[in-house]
Symmetry: C2
Subunit: 263 residues, 2 copies
Amino acid sequence: MKSKKDRLIFVTNDDGFSAAGFEAAIEVAREFGRVFAVAPATVQSGRSQAITMYEPLFLDMKRCEEGIEVYAFSGTPTDCVKVAFDNLLKDEKVDLVISGINHGSNSAINVLYSGTMGAAIEGSFYGCPAIGLSLTDHAADADFTAAKKYAREIIASVLEGGSELGRPLCLNVNVPNIALEEIRGVRVCRQCRGIWTEEFFRHEDPRGKPYFWLTGSYTNYEPESDDTDEWALAHGYVSVVPVQVDMTSYAQLTGLKSLLGGE
Amino acid sequence: MKSKKDRLIFVTNDDGFSAAGFEAAIEVAREFGRVFAVAPATVQSGRSQAITMYEPLFLDMKRCEEGIEVYAFSGTPTDCVKVAFDNLLKDEKVDLVISGINHGSNSAINVLYSGTMGAAIEGSFYGCPAIGLSLTDHAADADFTAAKKYAREIIASVLEGGSELGRPLCLNVNVPNIALEEIRGVRVCRQCRGIWTEEFFRHEDPRGKPYFWLTGSYTNYEPESDDTDEWALAHGYVSVVPVQVDMTSYAQLTGLKSLLGGE
């Protein structure tokens, strides 16, 4: 295993470079190696794995000190990963991607909407392990004490033994918003099935024009299943879901071939 | 099976309501039922399954005639689906979601970046089949003749027998940019493995400030495999990949439990 001084950790997030959770991630990452961080210049929550195709993007250095470099980039979280790996760190080997620590949960189906997880997934494409970290508290001044502790433990394990699990690990880690001493430990789980519903409210702007604004509530389709991330969080565990990116519905392949014919 | 007059088809896209491919999708959808369409007001290519959380969104009617209603919405493709299902069509039963026809390929890993597929996936959450349609030609004046023909065939099959394949079908359909008579037919396949690389070029703006702009080339990790969407497209077939949204890496669950300990 590499020593701390030889290790390079890339950090990003979706709440933007000024978020408290981003500082928390940098603080933890610094314990494991040199930190190179590129975060969105503005809030990019819910940006999924979006990329910016039709406009130029600007990079601004925000911090440069021994072992830590931080930039703000005017794109999405996934843009931040791409510009780091394909340009800024082109000649270096990144050992780990950390995305977060997000202010708010990214469990269950949120993995698809999440800019935090979009960036973690993108990072894993470059052949190194990636960890998306989220705390189930949206507050700007959320307490990241427990999240940092579990982040440290998970990062240490991944750096030590993660490479033995086949393809580079991409983890969706969510930490429940309860006191550190109440957390019952880490639980490896699968993505819970469920959806968001009732998701827009409708009002009128000051000039009488109607507008819609996203809101909604999450419906858990399988609250009784004890192997899901939602169950783990509801029962005081840190949930860890390993993520992969083949979205093929293999179970439907044969039936679909019969339905559509062709070869 | 429902008759055309009882059927409701929801149409959206990511190129925006004024794209030629959107008109092509509406034209095909109208052959199968009443059309209700909400498309982004602006180009939303590469928006993945992004949602708009921190700003209000506006809806404008663009067209209203017998059997066709079209709106432009100032959000992402996924926002368009949500506002339709959760507000505008709240009391109706949608029979099919069509997203597209996209100007450009959404095969392989592009399923993750694609706003077209983000909307199709979102549509499938509401319990009806969803079809993302893409033509591998980015041109604004692309010829959708072949794409429309195969869209018709696939839509007819899905409406007739799709409900027998378990969960609602969500299909990623890509049509190669070749003459209709050269297309060899439909091929049901899996998502090809591969990534985009070298993805930003760097220049200076008129005032000397450096900027980055996304570009890149796709690398196919398995060009020899004949069961992928990339292979199908390269060999003159319309590729059809059934999509599901559980991103759990089941193959890594056991190893990860050993690595991280806990329960």
